[in-house]
Amino acid sequence: MSSPATLDAHVLDLAWGGVLYWLALGASALFLQARPGLLVRLIFPLGALGALFVAGIGVAGLLLPASSMVLPIGLPDLPFHLRLDALSAFFLVLLGAAAFGVTVHAAGYFRSMAGGPLALLAMWYHLFLAGMAMVLLADDAYAFMVAWEVMALSSYFLVTTDHKIAEIRRAGFLYLLIAHVGAVSLLLAFGVLQGGHGDYTFDTMRAAGVAPFWASAAFLLALFGFGAKAGLVPLHVWLPEAHPAAPSPLSALMSGVMLKTAIYGLLRVTFDLLPMQLGWWGTLALALGLVTALYGVIFAAVQSDMKRLLAWSSIENIGVILAAFGLTLIFRTEGKGELAALTLTALLYHALNHAFFKGLLFVGTGSVLHATGERRMGHLGGLIRSMPWTAWLTLIGALAIAGLPPLNGFVSEWLLLQAFLLTPGLAQPYLNMVIPVAAATVALAAALAAYVMVKFYGVVFLGQPRDPALRQAHEAGWPERLGMLWLGAGCVLLGLFPTQVIQWLEPVVRMLTGQRLPGIGNWLLLTPVSAGRASYAPLVFLAGMAVVVGLTVLWVRRVYHGRVRRSAPWDCGYPEQDARMQDSAEGFGQPIRQIFAVFMRVERETPDPFDRQPRYRGDSRDKVWLLVYQPIADATAWLSRQAGRLQHGRIQWYLVYSFATLIFLLVFAR
């Protein structure tokens, strides 16, 4: 047992040890190819323990002052600089806590995979975890980019686990492409940030003091680079392809944690590395975030593949987080430090919440997929009866993400809306006009999220099974249940104890904004500004709910009776009822498709009324792909065709080219 002082000195060593531990686990997985059972039962639980350890380091990092170290690895003269401060520590907690639940689930999920692919998967999985942790610890651009690439590449190999399916290969390619376009942009951003010193440590960048123009350039490059990773519209196209393609625990990690590393990077660059912040950055980020949130949730509502629906919902949540980021920037530059602290708290809280509920929902779909082999919502249904554990635990996630009290999604939404309400009196008059519209957009996105979740949960878990085989769907095993239980408990606890969580976020908020919240309240009552201004007490709320439900049940039973008779459903007396008469996923999304038709290109196949086997297909495509990416792809293809004309495969022509180039260079470039 070490004393606090030694822990102080070694916490970063321990964090680095956590990374090494994951790397070692990944490597040792390769030696267990022949023993898939052992692989699943040993490597993943050990990995989960590592996640718990990393989360613990994060908690310690939040309490302790920042520490840094230099690792003599990498190129000569280019050692890795590591640093653990409050910001990295918070995201380490997020990574560790979410990864623990997901990895425990993975120990059950991958149990039926063959040895070879499983060993590779286990290796990439732990490499991915280590890469994410390294991104958070890196303190120079070189180490950051190496870790960033490790994260991107390992997740690419995880996305393409089922590489025999052409669609998944395509999704993987798209992911890799956009990840690298983003990475190039980040490289340029760091190049601008070092301000001509030729030294890429973050310390130099903090001291470089770049001019406003270059600061803006760096911010825009970083926004583009991190936006590409986070799924910012219009850079989001890879996300609904790649996240569903990966095995479910990986989807959970990518949506729940990897997207947050981009948020981490954005916060690090904007509030830590850049010497100044400009107001219009905030307006830009706010606008982009709101567009992303609305776009994401609209498309989530029209999806018919359950994992794709969740991927679009991740885009929405990233949009909300980015809107909070923009608002923080606006308040910061307007000199309203306390408000900046409030929005930043909402941002971090929402990031943490999203890691839990999106992780939970994705691993829940994983259990469904494992039990039924089906991702299309139109072929599922009624699973609450055959898979009660999965269904009830997923319900927590669905209610949380829909922003319902007293769960965690509501708290961060509540904090963000409170921030909107505190805005009057900003110096820029146009901001005073923008803020109400922004608040309305956030509210609309949140309400649509409830629509999406009712659709998701109702179609997959409730109703009649749309396929008779679903009645025999097997319940998830214990590791899977435990993983979901952890994530679900996280959703509940983060919702019930907001004051504690906010206190615990305080070091991060103080580090980035130099301010603290005007108030927090006591353990029961959350009052982020002042008691008269706004308050929320989830525990009292829950207690009130429980008391009323309890009293009502008792009263109904006591005064009347509890008699129940079972019969066929009534359904307005229609005699013929079958599972096909329920809303399909497309049917449930139809109103949204009709209202927001401008955003999408809808392809429909409708059956003939006399079809024996009627088939309906409705496909709503993203217009961004058609309007932005298709032209780029077409132009690239055209250019390569033109370049291809130069190449005839005849040596004479190539000699002529070389000769002409030589002449050209001799004449013009002497």
Partner: protein
């Protein structure tokens, strides 16, 4: 404090117990306006009593979610009623949930009802759930914007503070509240399943929204849902009174003003109910896909109210 707790309990119970009476009053007024002989004003109580006595009939496949949802809906509405000041501004429970949380409570009840409607897997259940969510995703943000306008004026999201600012401080004219009031009226119609958005008396398959969701419920479950619906109407009416015509609600600690507050509340509710039935008698239900237009208008009005606050009153 003890008077506070007493008043809290009294107001919540009053809301729950009086809610069916308001429903009866609205039905009575509407019958008169339509030239029918009206049912008794206590008819909703009789209907509830009858339902509680019946045996519950559940579909074979009904899951525990289906049985639990009515209690959840009822509890949500009871809590909502406990937050809104009706007689007095002393509400010790109200710091637990402000107006944003109130919107959350309504959403919680709605999501549970929609999920329960999808649980049995009938065509009408899912249809009702889908339509209800369609109505709500437009109504909910609009309601939030109405609350925001009131909160911006009173610098607080706590309902007692809002009421105290609007009713007990110096009288001031807020043009933004006029917009918010119109928006709130439209939202209340939609959220309470009234004409022109939904028709509470219909069982015509093509038009029903709320009724389609509760088709499979019977006996005590149905009674709880019907009662919750009545409490919801009462809470919305009380909300409208608290936000737009709060005069008469007793200030904090002002016990002597309670009789007057009771009289004012009864008068305002009676007037509001009559106005609601008048509106229902003279308008027709709109087609489902005109509902987004109706609610979109409400949403825009509410946002406009907020903008006007920023422009004229900030």
């Amino acid at each position: 404090m003890s008077t506070g707790i007493l008043l809290q309990a009294a107001q919540t119970l009053l809301a729950i117990l009086l809610a069916p009476l308001l429903m009866g009053w609205v039905n009575q007024c509407r019958a008169w306006l339509q030239g029918r002989s009206a049912p008794s004003i206590v008819q909703p109580y009789r209907a509830l009593r009858k339902l509680f006595h019946k045996d519950a009939v559940l579909a074979h496949d009904a899951s525990p979610l289906f049985r639990f949802a009515p209690y959840m809906v009822f509890a949500s509405m009871a809590l909502a009623a406990g937050i809104v000041p009706t007689l007095a501004n002393d509400l010790p429970f109200s710091p637990a949930a402000d107006v944003i949380a109130l919107v959350g409570i309504f959403a919680l009840a709605r999501v549970f009802l929609a999920l329960a409607a999808m649980d049995i897997g009938t065509a009408f259940g899912t249809l009702g759930a889908r339509r209800e969510m369609l109505v709500s995703f437009l109504a909910e943000p609009a309601l939030l914007m109405v609350f925001f306008t009131a909160s911006l004026i009173s610098q607080s999201t706590a309902l007692p503070v809002i009421v105290a600012t609007l009713a007990h401080k110096a009288f001031a004219i807020h043009p933004s509240l006029a917009f918010a009031a119109v928006a709130f009226w439209m939202i209340s119609l939609a959220e309470n399943a009234r004409i022109p958005v939904d028709n509470p008396t219909t069982h015509l398959e093509l038009t029903m929204i709320h009724e389609a969701m509760v088709l499979e419920y019977s006996a005590r479950h149905l009674a709880l849902i019907e009662w919750a619906t009545a409490v919801k109407l009462f809470t919305y009416s009380a909300l409208g009174i608290a936000l737009f015509v709060p005069w008469g609600i007793a200030a904090q600690g002002d016990v002597a003003a309670l009789p007057l507050a009771l009289a004012a509340m009864v008068a305002k509710l009676a007037a509001g109910g009559a106005a609601l039935s008048l509106l229902e008698a003279v308008s027709a239900k709109v087609r489902l896909f005109r509902v987004p237009e109706f609610l979109g208008t409400a949403f825009l009005l509410a946002v406009l109210g907020m903008l006007i606050h920023f422009l004229l009153e900030a």
